[in-house]
Amino acid sequence: MSEQKIADYEFKPGFTGMAKDTGSDQTMFKGVHWGKAMMWIFLLSDTFVFSCFLISYMKGRASTTVEWPYPSEVFALTVFGVSVPLLLIAIMTFVLITSSGTMALAVKYGYEKNRKMCGWLVLATAIGGLTFVGMQAFEWSKLIHEGVRPWENPFGAAQFGSYFFMITGFHGTHVSIGVIFLFIYAYKVFAGHYDTQKRGWFTTMKGDYVEIEILGLYWHFVDLVWVFIFAFFYLW
């Protein structure tokens, strides 16, 4: 970006130069699409939502008087008579991280105006996300089958069930919303809306491949949050 010249604007060197660039007229982030800037700020806000959830979880777990369940037993999966700790969750995490990879490639092909590749990769990302949500539903039903509820938990502290269902549910909602948008965007890519700058269904904004990147930002964020949830629920 530093080499780029935007509408006669010359970037200035050093710390004071950075301050001057930031405070210059028209835009603070030179050449950054409005939607992209919006998504970054939204994600900052969303970070605070998940932080509040996770900090509450830490407080709840730290102050409970009843024993907290042992994660490698609760989240174990029995395969061919052998109990493998964290098996499902490892697969889930792998699928979600892989979908981040396909998303990043979709952005690249989008900017190269490679409509077909971009569309297939967005679709692959959507399917990855859908798989993740499906496996999460499986995990939920397994725990519910074993008697874990938001209000009680046979393995120990009741708050385990409360926080687990709430936080993974909230994250799962984020993934589901992302999946819905990924399917919509895959359709829009294949239909060529971004090549012809067709206007959106509601917003009347002109279509542009930058939208793939904006959705990509959201998708990577959802993955990143999952890494934290993974660490705090399954590894702690």
Partner: protein
């Protein structure tokens, strides 16, 4: 929908040669402003009643919609406060008033005034109307999202108002909604009431996030040519910083609302400890009520500044315009706003000194709280120095500004009392606290709102509000508000507790009774005086004096639009080009006592104007 777009607005950004009317002359160099970085925004122009006035994408209409909805809730809040004062001043006079009703009115009054009135009015109302105009944009950057934002707010208000009509009535747990009592039987509205409140708050946060993203990106990425950050009016700075605070503080409210909803509906125990009720152990257990208090006040304290910072910004602009003098220490004012905003995230537990938290916490939070006094005091000094030797016009707007400074200083000083743990503990939950926060975040921002209404009404409606009525409105409100809240400090000192339905036969009864009657009478008068404004607005819309262009001779861009009131798209064919800050008043050597932001330097070479 593409064929419905009016392509007239989609003029391509013109190159610097054609834009610069001085090209070829010697003046060309000093008047040079970089060409546009961003292409012209294409706007969706409504063409039916529904798309023009109901589901409208014009930020100005959305601003007015926010304003009217917020004022409606504000009137509801005002009526609730009357009912409370009726009970406190004249117990038993209103036959229907039970203790349960009283708590419900206290709760709803607090929540309505803080969230649905002040926040929505400053950010949704003034933010939507003023940001695009003041930074020189055609509209908000995402007009469709902006429209949804208002309708989410509208639904949130509808849900909140619905709680008055459900079985059990609205929640009566105090505006802080502390668990466990908020959701336990015995508290008024612990059934549907609290549930609707939590749902309404969540909807408000979602709606606000949509609006807030618009405000931030419009300010950061859609300013006009020449509009640097340090040339923005302080109003924009105040609203900008407040929106940043809201984007980071409302998540805590959303999370606490979700968790309490689950506690209520699913029977989880996030905030619920083991509870004995009539000798019976309830299902709940193992949760932490203090956790809710931390989450709530992590939202709640920045919320105070979400209300205060736009007020600071707006009042700076009003004082500067009506004292015909540049704001003193503009950069200091900007950094004070930003500094107060940053500090406000590190003070939340000063609302919890009596919650039983670790005393070291109290020490830390008392320190950070008192540090906030430094930038705040800087701002007050700067307002006063701006007035000093200014060409002050004592009109209605200026009166409201002066009223703001007085009430704000008053409320700020009692804040220093309450920020210290050792002073706060005996004063906690007394009327001293009520007096403090009403003075500092009730009356003071309200004074600014009123000043802003008198200042910008000519822009919105094209007619001048009646000055005489305005002065009556001001003096009754100002003196009346002092009559209400000044005696409350004394009530607090003698130990009258807040949120009590009745005083019964307490030893301080005798002196408190007369004072309560006096306060109530003042409250009735002040409340009624607000209808002067509504009358004034209706009268002005019918028969008011036409304002013409720029009646206050102000510099900022909103007064230099192509038409008054501005049309959709704000600035006609060409966006304005900015050459200076908005505070060039009474510049020696200039023809008039103001130099609009759009005046190029070549036109003012013989004046003593400074480069900004």
């Amino acid at each position: 929908m593409s064929d419905e777009i009016d392509n007239k607005q989609s003029i391509q950004a013109q190159s610097s040669e054609t834009m610069n009317q001085y090209s070829g002359s010697a003046a060309a160099d000093i008047d040079y402003v970089r060409p546009a970085e961003i292409p012209e925004q294409d706007l969706y122009h409504g063409h039916s009643f529904i798309t023009k006035w109901v589901f409208c994408q014009d930020a100005k209409v959305i601003g007015v919609q926010y304003f009217l909805t917020a004022v409606f809730t504000g009137v509801v809040g005002l009526i609730l406060s009357w009912l409370m004062r009726l009970q406190l001043g004249f117990p038993g006079l209103a036959g229907f008033m039970t203790a349960e009703h009283y708590y419900q009115f206290v709760t709803m009054h607090g929540m309505i005034m803080v969230v649905y009135f002040l926040t929505a009015l400053f950010l949704g109302g003034f933010g939507n109307y003023l940001i695009p105009l003041m930074v020189g944009a055609r509209d908000m950057v995402f007009p469709y999202v902006n429209m949804i934002s208002f309708w989410m707010f509208f639904i949130a208000v509808a849900v909140l108002m619905a709680s008055f009509f459900v079985p059990g009535g609205p929640t009566g747990s105090g505006w802080t909604l502390y668990p466990p009592q908020a959701i336990l039987e015995g508290t008024p509205g612990s059934g549907m009431g609290i549930l609707l409140m939590l749902v309404s708050l969540s909807l408000f946060v979602i709606g606000f996030t949509m609006g807030g993203l618009n405000y931030l990106i419009t300010i950061l990425q859609a300013r006009t040519r020449g509009m640097t950050l340090m040339r923005m009016p302080l109003t924009v700075w105040g609203i900008f910083t407040a929106t940043v605070l809201a984007m980071l503080a409302f998540p805590a409210l959303l999370v606490s609302s979700i968790m309490m909803t689950l506690d209520k509906v699913l029977g989880t125990s996030f905030f619920m400890p083991t509870i004995l009720k009539a000798g019976e152990v309830l299902e709940y257990g193992g949760g932490s009520p203090i956790l809710f208090q931390h989450l709530f006040w992590f939202f709640g304290h920045p919320e105070v500044y979400i209300v205060a910072l736009p007020a600071f910004g707006i009042v700076s602009d009003l004082i500067s315009v009506h004292a015909r003098k540049n704001i003193f220490g503009y950069r200091m004012m900007v950094w004070a706003i930003v500094g107060i905003g940053a500090l406000s995230f590190f003070v939340w537990a000063h609302h919890m000194y009596v919650s039983g938290m670790n005393p070291w916490f109290g020490f830390f939070f008392a320190t950070t709280t008192l540090i906030i006094a430094v930038p705040t005091a800087m701002k007050v000094y700067n307002w006063i120095i701006t007035l000093w030797r200014g060409n002050i016009r004592i009109n209605t707007v200026m009166l409201w500004c002066l009223g703001f400074i007085v009430t704000f200083v008053n409320g700020g000083i009692t804040g220093i009392f309450l920020g210290n743990v050792s002073v706060d503990v005996p004063l906690s939950d007394t009327y001293f606290v009520v007096a403090h926060f009403h003075m500092v975040m009730g009356i003071a921002p309200l004074m600014v709102i009123m000043g802003a209404v008198y200042h910008w009404f000519p822009l919105v409606a094209g007619r001048m509000l009646h000055e005489g009525l305005g002065k009556w409105h001001f003096w009754i409100t100002f003196l009346g508000a002092y009559s209400i809240y000044f005696p409350m400090h004394y009530l607090g000192f003698i130990g009258v507790p807040r949120r009590y339905f009745e005083m019964y036969d307490s030893p301080y009864m005798t002196s408190a009774i007369g004072m309560n009657e006096f306060i109530s009478l003042a409250a009735f008068i002040v409340g009624a005086a607000q209808f002067i404004l509504i009358f004034n607005i209706i009268k002005t819309l019918k028969t008011g004096k036409p304002a013409g262009k720029n009646p206050w001779k102000a510099n900022s861009l909103e007064w230099h639009t192509s038409t008054v009131p501005p049309e959709h798209g704000n600035f006609g064919d060409r966006l304005p080009v900015v050459h200076r800050w908005p505070y060039d008043f009474s510049v020696p050597g200039a023809k008039e006592d103001f130099i609009p932001q759009t005046t190029p330097p070549s036109e003012v070479v013989h004046t003593e104007v400074e480069k900004t």
